[in-house]
């Protein structure tokens, strides 16, 4: 913890602004509109006949994905999210990144958030690698000048060489990921949201990628990462939240939670 904080002080230039996340009884309910309930006609008929179609809330099915989450994250927190499939990890990540607003309760997030859930988002296969660097970068909130400054570094890191001016559809899937990874890891947000640790490429590239990821993580104030890996959580995080059925089952240090979650 102490070492991370020291690293933060050195690594991050945005230390003046404190990032924080405060959740208070936040819930996420997904209304499930089946094909018919989604049509306007049905809604109009419903109004015209003056009654609800069914007794239980306009016949709408609501899935409660997250329920009464109360926690706060502060500078220096590296939080791991554990939980089985469907426990609400991805929904929580989206709530943290500001994509969803809680349907009940409050979630206040202060600080610049970046979400690296799908690093290939916004990559146009018909455009060249160079164009895609700009597109992906702007989508992540960088300015054109920022990107132009880092362009050479990104190209060099991705080791794509002359392929950078070829359309991305000619790339192999590994090259595609390298490009996406190289751009996505140039951002320096205050709050970083990730779904699993990003790891791309062959053996040689993996080490480079690992180092770059560490650098990125050190530069951020708050990291939230969903994972299924015990090692990752033990190495990267200093706090672990275990979600089960949309609720927090345990919120403590990695040691305690992983022991309870993975068993010994």
């Amino acid at each position: 913890m102490a070492s991370i904080n020291v690293a933060l002080l050195i690594g991050s230039k945005k230390k003046t602004i404190m990032a924080s996340i405060e959740f208070h009884n936040a819930c996420v309910d997904f209304p499930i509109y089946n094909a018919s309930a989604r049509s306007l006609k049905k809604r109009l008929i419903q109004v015209a006949t003056g009654g609800k179609l069914s007794a239980n809330d306009q016949g709408r099915v609501i899935v409660r994905a997250l329920e009464d989450l109360t926690f706060s994250l502060n500078d220096g927190d590296r939080v791991g999210l554990l939980g089985h499939n469907g426990a609400g990890k991805s929904t929580l990540l989206r709530l943290l990144s500001g994509v969803y607003a809680p349907s009940a309760g409050t979630a206040s997030i202060s600080g610049e958030v970046a979400s690296l859930i799908d690093i290939s988002l916004g990559i146009d296969p018909e455009a060249s690698g160079r164009e895609n660097i700009f597109m992906r970068g702007i989508l992540l909130g960088m300015t054109k000048n920022d990107i132009a400054e880092k362009l050479e570094e990104i190209i060099e890191f991705s080791e794509l060489g002359d392929f950078i001016d070829m359309p991305v559809r000619t790339y192999s899937s590994g090259m595609h990921l390298r490009l996406a990874f190289a751009v996505s890891t140039t951002i320096r947000p205050e709050i970083l949201i990730m779904d699993e640790w990003l790891s791309v490429g062959d053996e040689g590239f993996k080490h480079k990628a690992e180092a770059r990821m560490n650098e990125l993580v050190e530069a951020t104030s708050i990291l939230v990462i969903a994972s299924h890996s015990r090692d990752l959580v033990m190495h990267t995080c200093n706090r672990v939240i275990w979600l089960e059925h949309g609720r927090i089952k345990m919120d403590a240090d990695p040691e305690t939670v992983t022991r309870a979650y993975f068993g010994n």
Binding site: F30, S97, V99, E126, I138
Partner: protein, 369 residues
């Protein structure tokens, strides 16, 4: 007593604001019970009830079933547990100006304006996405978006010949009128139609990145503006063909276009929101646009209308005014003050409505997709 009411009232504001969707207002009756004792308690509850509409749980409305049943459970356990004579009130929606609803409206307007402002500030993102859309049409195609221009040119030529003969209109007048009308109509209708699906189409981005949603609306308008820039090429060619000069007053269509785009932005914003929720709306809009196309003088000259019909189809048709502010200057005609006023008024009024609706439902959009 009054101070206590004041204090509770303050808390009430705060909580009602924070939990407006969640309806944990049962807390307030508890709070009243804590703060006051004996007869004061009923007094206090009454005062609050008089000032803010309090409903008994059975009358409560406007909240989702889940929270309703949870509140009810809470209230029931309270009733069973204690021989408490205090009536358990829950607060639903509280009226007057100085109240949560007003504040919520205020908050949502602030949120909407903030979102729109950030979207405008991220114009480089809008520009890039719009360009990318257009460029995708160029790729591996020799003429790219000019295909649209070519097909539009052919259509203008055909309609011009046929209808020019039917209406017996002079080509020198009819062809430029038709060309300008068709070019701007195609801009308007694609803006509205694509505006309907702009949020649905951007689902993957919306669910991944916290980008202001208005960016996607602006992207649609920008993309269509770029395509308009391709199509407008036809107009000088038509002028050349019929030997009609282009005056300086044509420059007036630039502010006219800005006003048109401003109007299209709010229309797209409202429609995109509604279409994200009700998925068969785009089809309805498409039919409505088709009707509007025939009702608006684009294929026929307004001068051909007999007197009375003109009032209905021209003056009362807002689309006519929107078309007129960009088309008339290009044809060397004066734009009537009425057209400017209608277009300006629509922009102002429409934006007010759009901001309110957008603010109220912005939070829900990601859930609808």
């Amino acid at each position: 007593m009054i101070e206590k009411v004041q204090v509770i009232r303050q808390e009430l504001y705060f909580r009602a604001l924070a939990h407006l969707n969640c309806s944990t207002q049962a807390l307030f009756s508890e709070r009243i019970a804590q703060a006051c004792h004996g007869s004061e308690r009923t007094e206090c509850a009454r005062t609050i009830r008089n000032r803010f509409r309090l409903y008994a749980p059975s009358q409560q409305r406007g909240h989702s079933t889940w929270s309703r049943s949870r509140d009810r459970k809470k209230l029931e356990t309270r009733r069973d547990g204690k021989s408490d004579t205090t009536p358990s009130y829950t607060i639903t929606i509280i009226d007057c100006f100085d109240n949560p609803v007003f504040r919520m409206l205020n908050n949502s307007i602030t949120a909407a304006v903030a979102d729109i402002a950030t979207a405008v500030k991220r114009y480089s993102l809008v520009g890039m996405l719009g360009w990318q859309d257009v460029r995708q049409r160029y790729r591996r195609s020799a003429v790219g978006p000019f295909w649209l221009t070519i097909s539009m040119g052919v259509m203008i030529g055909t309609i011009g010949l046929v209808f020019g003969q039917i209406f017996n209109s002079p080509m020198k007048e009819f062809l430029p009128f038709l060309a300008a009308g068709m070019i701007f109509w195609s801009f308007i209708s694609t803006c509205v139609l694509e505006g309907c699906t702009s949020l649905i189409a951007a689902e993957s981005i919306i669910k991944q990145l916290p980008i202001p949603l208005f960016v996607h609306i602006l992207r649609t308008i920008w993309r269509n503006t770029l395509i308009l820039a391709h199509n407008i090429v036809i107009f000088p060619l038509v002028l050349l063909a019929v030997q009609k000069p282009l005056g300086l007053e044509a420059l007036l269509s630039i502010p006219g276009f800005a006003l048109l785009a401003l109007n299209l932005a709010w229309i797209s914003l409202i429609l995109s929101l509604l279409c994200a929720r009700y998925r068969d709306l785009p089809q309805i809009i498409a039919s409505v646009l088709q009707i509007a196309f025939y009702l608006t003088p684009i294929m026929w000259l307004p001068s051909l209308l007999p007197g009375r019909a003109g009032t209905y189809l021209l003056d009362l048709n807002p689309i006519y005014h929107l078309v007129q502010i960009v088309r008339a200057p290009l044809l060397g005609q004066d734009v009537s003050t009425v057209s400017w006023c209608v277009a300006g008024g629509m922009a102002l009024f429409g934006w007010c409505i759009a901001i309110i609706i957008y603010g109220l439902y912005k939070r829900r959009i990601a859930y609808w997709l």
